[in-house]
Amino acid sequence: DTAVSQTPKYLVTQMGNDKSIKCEQNLGHDTMYWYKQDSKKFLKIMFSYNNKELIINETVPNRFSPKSPDKAHLNLHINSLELGDSAVYFCASSQVTGNYGYTFGSGTRLTVV
């Protein structure tokens, strides 16, 4: 039973398309995150939600919009995809706000062609 699950695992799409990545956690955690890992494996935080409330919104293009329908789900919608959006996107969750360590999903590899 996967603790943090992301779908899809792979996503190949053309420039200009709109796509969504879904994330669900069954750990009962209050806080969820989206991180982007580029081709050099650098990890950068994009968003964080605590119990459906947005608490971190880093400098991310407006084309990226997170949505949290409940505290167990955090989805990421991307409009007008660009080549530079190609990366691995990780969802993560933590037990309490303040971060005592993350549980990561297995990632979604997005390739924009």
Binding site: T31, S48, N50, I55, A92, N99, Y100, G101
Partner: protein, 115 residues
Amino acid sequence: AQSVTQLDSQVPVFEEAPVELRCNYSSSVSVYLFWYVQYPNQGLQLLLKYLSGSTLVKGINGFEAEFNKSQTSFHLRKPSVHISDTAEYFCAVSDTNTNAGKSTFGDGTTLTVKP
């Protein structure tokens, strides 16, 4: 704001040898510190964490790390590595004074264990 510097981008080592992966951090406030491991084509897995208390922290897979406040370091060690330890290792820091829960990650160290 915090920052993390992993001093070695690549560490090759022979099987059964000891290894140390070095991590320095910078912060104006108290921090929590973490090491994560990422195996190929997988997500990151928490190896160990320092929140408070004893500066020597033991984690999974035989790894340990020591928090050194004066040197602002949190180096990861294992006395004898296995081929299966080949992976990417990330050091991360989080501010204890904020409830935002954001972690800042280092650039990673690639550990390659050779037979």
